[in-house]
Subunit: 370 residues, 4 copies
C-alpha cells in the first residue's frame, strides 16, 4: 500500500529554514510516518535566492513570492520561518487557503496578533504547531512524566533561565531583534523558558519583572557609525506564580557572557527535584527519596531508548541526540497530528498564551530602562 | 617578646558554639596572630551544661549565666551563638561592659533591633563582626578582586540562591525558625545570599518578592500530634536592583529537595562571568574574553596558595578547605580588626543592612501566603 | 551546472545500516557536495527484508544478494554494514568491480584479513574509509590542532578508555561478539579508543595488557538454558608506548556498569592538557599555562562554528551535535576524498593498523582467563 | 573522672608537621577521646628552629635532636614527619623506647627497610599508623561499605590514578624526591592510589608497568645552572591483578599539567559502580541497578552525618570537610587504637605491603628510561 504524499511549502531559507528542510528530508527514514513527505516549494525573498536555495535544500519548485506558495492548491503544509513581522499575514492567508501551518516561534510580535492567528486557525480547524524546539527533547517529556506520576511530589518551585550571549557586543547593530514592536531578549528567547515552565508546571497566573537595557544605543546597521537608542530589554529577571500555587523565577538575557544556550531549570517538589540544562541536553538530573539516609543524591539520567522517540534515532543508549534531531521529532509530531486531526501541545493557542505572559512581563512599571 | 593574651567568652555550645570553639583553638597554630587566644569562659543554659561543655571544648571556666560572663572584666571578646532573640540583650550588655562582640548571623530578629545594636557598637567604638561564614572563602575574595579589577567588565546581572532542604519534612516541628517574629526561610538563610550579593556587587536599592508557605501547619513540638499554623515563608523568589544599575534575582528555600547547601551565584559582567556554589566551595568558574574564537570557556579555578589565606592551611594547592576552616579565617580576621581598631567588612552595620533588605522582601504585599 | 550523480549501494540495514542511510539522505542539504547522492540499491539478508528496508530508508532498488549489488556497474560506492566476518569478501569483490568502499569498523576479524583488504584497495587505487565515527567530531579535530600547534607542549601521557555496559548481563547470549575469531571487548570497542590514541598522539610501538573474562559462560542463544564457555575478554586494561616517547594506558570493557559510552581520554603535555568524553561530546576541557598563578584551570570549550564543520549544521554556537551528525560528517569527508582522489585519514590502512594493535594486546601471555 | 594524658612528641615542622600539630590541637574539641592530648615536645633540625616552631605550634618543649625526644620517658607517641630516609632510624629507636609510632607515608625508602620497621613494631606490640590521609575520608569508608555489602556486586575492575603537577617545571631542582634511592613519582604519590586500591578491592597479586622520565636532567639545587641527570620516573602507567580476580590500571604522575590532586578511581562491579576524585572529596558517585529502565544514573552522594565521623565536625549535611579534617580523623583513629590496643588498618604492615607493590612496579624491565 502506498502512503499518501504530503506536500510541503517552506517560507524562508535562513538558519531555521535550513533546519526545517533538513528535518523534512530526514524524518521519513527515521520515523514510520503516515505520509510520504515531498519538499514541494521553497519561497524566499526573490526568485533567484529561492531557486538557488531550493536546489541546495532539495525542493522541487521555488518562488520569490510567499503568496504564490500559499495559493498553490497542491501544497498541504505551510512552514513559516520568515521574519516575525510576517507571521500573521502568511498564516492568515495559509489558513484561508486551507493549509496546515507550522510556524516558528515567537508566534507573532504581539499578544493581539497571536490571538487573531489562533482564533483563525481554531475556526478553520487546521493543524498548527509553533516551533518550540526544546520541548521535543525526550528527556523533557520524561521530566514531565516524573512530575505527572507524582514521583517528585507536589511541585513547589520553578527556577529557570534562558541565557545566551549573542547580543553582548555593543557593536551588534539594530535588527528586528531590537525593534520596539516585538523585540527584546524576553520576546526573542524568553519564550523558550516560559513555554518550558508552562509545559512542565502549568499555567502562570501572575508575573512581575525587572528589566535592564545595558547597551543604551547600537549602530543603525552593521559597521555604521550612526547610532540609535535601544528601547528593548537586554536582561530580564521575573517572578512567577503558577495556578497550582507553586512560585518561581526566570532569568533571561542575550548578553550572558560565556553562555551560548543555557536554557535551564530546576523544578522542586515536596518529594523530589529535577534539573536540566540545554547545555547538556542528553542529561537529566533527578533526585527522589530513595535508598535511605546518606545514600541519596541527584542521579544523572542519560537519554536512551527508554525515552521515546530516542529509539528512532538509535537502538542503543549512549548515542547522543543533537539540536537538529529535535526538529526532526517536531516534524514527526506534526505529521501525527495532521493525520489524526488532533491538536498539538504547542499549537497556536500555546504560542499565544506564551506571548501574553511575555507581554505582561514587559508591561510592568518597574522597568529600569524607563 | 610575649604576645598579649586575648580572653574569649563564648555564649552557647550548640552547632555554632562548637564551631566557634574549634576555630579559637585552631587559629593560633595556623595564623600568626597578634594575640595569644585564651578560651576563658563558656556560658550556657545552666551551670551543669556549661561545665560539661567547657570541659569538652577546652574552656577554663563556665557559667550558667551569660550576664556573669559579660560582667567579667577579664574577658575581652564576647562571642554570641545564643538564640537570635537574645542577640540584642547580650550584645548591648557586652558593649556597655566594653567588650568586642562577635555575633552569629542573623544579627537580630528585626531591622529595628539590629539598628539599635549597630548604633550602640559604633558609639562605643568596639570591634564587631557578624558571622557570615561563607564570605571568608578565599575564592569569594578572589571573585571580588576579579570584579574590582574590571576583568569581568561592568556587572550587569546577579543570579543567586540559597537552597537547603532541612525543613522539607512536614513533621519538622515549630521552633524559633518558624517564629513569626524573625523566622522564615528568607530570614534564616536568605541573609547568606543577600550578604554575598552585597559583598560582590554592592548595595541593593530595590527589591520585590513572592513567597510561599508550603506546609501550612506543623507539630507544636517534636512528635506532637497537635499542630499550629505556619505563618512564615518556606520558599521565596526575589528581584533585586543594585545601586550600580545591575539587576538580579535570588531564590531562597529551606525545602529544596536534594539540596543541602546550594549557596550559589552567577555574576555576569559585560566582559566576563563568575560562577560559584558552596556545594563545591573549592572551585570558582570564571569566563573572560580570551584565546579567541572557539577557544574560550568557563575555567574551573581551584583554591590554592595564590588565594590568601589558603596558604595558612596548606602550602600546596589541591588540598581543599572545609566549612570549619572558614570559621578559623573569620576568627583570624577578627583578631586583626581588634588589634588595628579597624572595622570589619561584615561588622554590625553590614548585618543591619542585610537584615533590612530581608525585611523589605517580607513586607511586600504580593505574598501568596496572605 | 548539474552535479554528477554518485550511486550508493548499501549492504545491511541494521543499526549502522540505518545510520548510513540517514547520513546519505541528509548530507546533501547540509554540505555543498561535489556530487548529488542517489540511494541506488540496498542489499540485505533476503529479497523481502531488502525490499521492505529499501522502501523505509529511501533506496530505489533492493536485493537479497550483496553479490548482485557489487556487480551492478551503475553503483559507485559500496557501503558495508554487514557482519564483520563478511567484510573481507564483500570488500574484495567491490574493489575488483572498481568501487569505492566505505566499511564499518572493525575493518575485519583479524590483522591478516585486514592486511589483504588494505593491499587490494591500495593496488586498485580506490577510495576507502573505515567508519571510526567518533573521530569525525569537530572537537576531536580541534584537540588535534591544539596538539599540532604545540599549545600543550610535548605530549607525555595518554590515558584513555572505552566503557559501555551492553554485555554486563550474564544472560546476554553468544553472538558474533563472543566469537573467538574476532570477538571480545577489545576487538569490538577497543578499536575506538586505539584509533583515537593514534589520531591524536601517533603510532603505538609497544603494548602490554591484562584481560579478564567475567561471565565464564553464556546462553548459546537468546533465552536458551544451554550454555557455552566464553573464550573472549570482557574487560581489558592495557599499557601503551608511543613512537614519540609518550606512554599511556587504556581501559576497555563492555560491562562497565553505569557507562553507556565513555569513550574518553586525557592527554597531558608538558605545557597543557586536554580532556574529552563522548558522554559529553560537545565539550572539550583544555588547560594551558595562562593567566598567571591562581587564575588558571581547565576551561570547558563548547562546540561551535569556530570548529568546522559545525557551521554546516548550525550557524550559531550552543546548538549541539548528536551522534548521527558524526556520520553525516563522515559521508561528507568520503565525498571529498572520492572527488579529489586523496586518501582518507581513516582509510583501510589505518583500520588495518588499529586491528594489529588490538591483536597484539590479545596475543600477550598474561591473560588471566587462560 | 579525669582522662589520662597522652604526651605527643612530633619530629618535623614542615608541611606535614604543621598538619599533625593542627590535628593534635583540634581533635579533642571534635572527638570524645579516651585521652587528653598534650603537645609535649617538638624536635626539628636544630634547637633554634625547634624552639620557634614549638611556640608557633603550641608545643611545651622543643629540641634540636630527635634522639632526645625519642629518649624522653614522658612521651607516649612519636609522630614522624621527618625526611623519608630518617623514618627507619627514628622508628626503630622509638619502638625500642616503647613508644607508639605515627609515621608519615611512605613508610620508608625501600621494601626491605619497611619490612624491618614492621617486624620490629609487631614484635614490640606497639601501635603504629602510616599517614595515608586520603583513606580517612568518610566517603571512602562509605564506598567500602557499599562494596562489602554487595551493593555493587563482585568487583571486576579498578581504574585509578594519582595526578599532580608539582614537578612539571624542568627547573624544579633535585631533592629527596628525585633521589634514586626511594624517589620518583610512583614512590612519592603512587602509594596513595595503591593504598586506596588495596583498601577498597583487596590484595594486589601481580603488576606490570611502563614508566617515563620526561625531564632528563634537573638543576642540582634551586637556581643552579649545574644540572644532573634524573634517574627516577616522572610518569607511570601500571596494570594490576587483584587476588579476587579483578583487574585494573593506575596512572601516576607528578607532571600532570592542570591537575593538583586527582587521586581518583572508578570501581566497577557486576551490579554497580563507584567513582571518586579527591578533587571533589565531599562527593561520591554511585550507580546501582535501581528504578528500572531509563531511570538510572550515577547519583552524587554528598558527605553528611550518615557518613561517620562527619557528624563530629558538623551536625548538618552540606558543610564540607577539608584536607586538614582528614588528619584530625586520623589522629582520632590513632587514639582509639592506642586505647584498645588494636591494630590500625593502615599500620606498618599495610605501609610495608604498599611499598613492596610500588617496588615491584619499578623493578619491571620495560622501563622506557633505561
Amino acid at each position: 500500500m502506498t502512503k499518501a504524499v504530503l506536500n510541503i511549502g517552506l517560507v524562508g531559507s535562513g538558519f531555521m529554514g535550513r533546519c526545517h528542510a533538513n528535518a523534512f528530508r530526514s524524518v521519513g527514514g527515521l520515523f514510520d510516518l503516515p505520509f510520504n513527505i515531498h519538499l514541494h516549494t521553497l519561497a524566499d525573498v526573490d526568485d533567484e535566492t529561492a531557486s538557488l536555495q531550493a536546489q541546495k535544500l532539495g525542493f522541487a519548485h521555488s518562488t520569490g513570492s510567499w503568496e504564490t506558495l500559499v495559493d498553490n492548491p497542491e501544497i498541504d503544509v505551510v512552514a513559516i520561518t520568515a521574519p516575525n513581522a510576517l507571521h500573521e499575514a502568511i498564516t492568515l492567508a495559509a489558513i484561508q487557503a486551507g493549509k496546515h501551518v507550522y510556524c516558528e516561534k515567537p508566534l507573532s510580535t504581539t499578544c493581539d496578533s497571536a490571538k487573531r492567528m489562533t482564533e483563525a486557525a481554531e475556526q478553520a480547524g487546521t493543524t498548527t504547531l509553533v516551533g518550540f524546539n526544546f520541548l521535543r527533547n525526550p528527556l523533557i517529556h520524561y521530566a514531565k512524566s516524573l512530575i505527572e506520576s507524582g514521583d517528585v511530589g507536589e511541585v513547589i518551585s520553578f527556577r529557570g533561565r534562558h541565557a545566551e550571549d549573542y547580543m553582548g557586543n555593543p557593536e551588534s547593530p539594530h535588527s528586528f531583534r531590537t525593534d520596539p514592536d516585538g523585540g527584546g531578549a524576553l520576546a526573542d528567547i524568553g519564550s523558550h523558558i516560559v513555554s518550558m515552565a508552562r509545559f512542565l508546571v502549568g499555567p502562570i497566573t501572575n508575573v512581575n519583572a525587572v528589566t535592564e537595557t545595558v547597551h543604551k544605543e547600537r549602530p543603525v546597521k552593521p559597521g555604521s557609525s550612526e547610532r540609535r537608542p535601544v528601547l528593548v530589554d537586554d536582561v530580564a529577571h521575573a517572578l512567577l506564580e503558577f495556578g497550582n500555587g507553586a512560585t518561581g523565577s526566570i532569568d533571561v538575557s542575550w548578553m550572558m557572557t560565556g553562555r551560548t544556550m543555557d536554557l535551564s531549570f530546576e523544578i522542586t517538589g515536596t518529594q523530589g527535584a529535577i534539573q536540566f540544562s540545554q547545555e547538556r541536553m542528553n542529561e537529566l538530573l533527578v533526585w527522589t527519596r530513595q535508598g535511605g539516609d546518606g545514600n541519596g543524591g541527584f542521579r544523572k539520567i542519560e537519554t536512551g531508548p527508554a525515552h521515546p522517540p530516542y529509539g528512532n534515532f538509535c537502538p542503543a543508549p549512549g548515542h547522543h541526540l543533537g539540536f537538529n534531531d529535535l526538529k526532526v521529532i517536531e516534524v514527526a509530531e506534526l505529521m501525527e497530528c495532521i493525520e489524526q486531526g488532533k491538536p498539538h501541545y504547542t499549537g497556536f493557542r500555546e504560542g499565544y498564551e506564551v506571548q501574553c505572559t511575555i507581554d505582561a512581563m514587559l508591561l510592568l512599571p518597574n522597568k529600569t530602562n524607563g
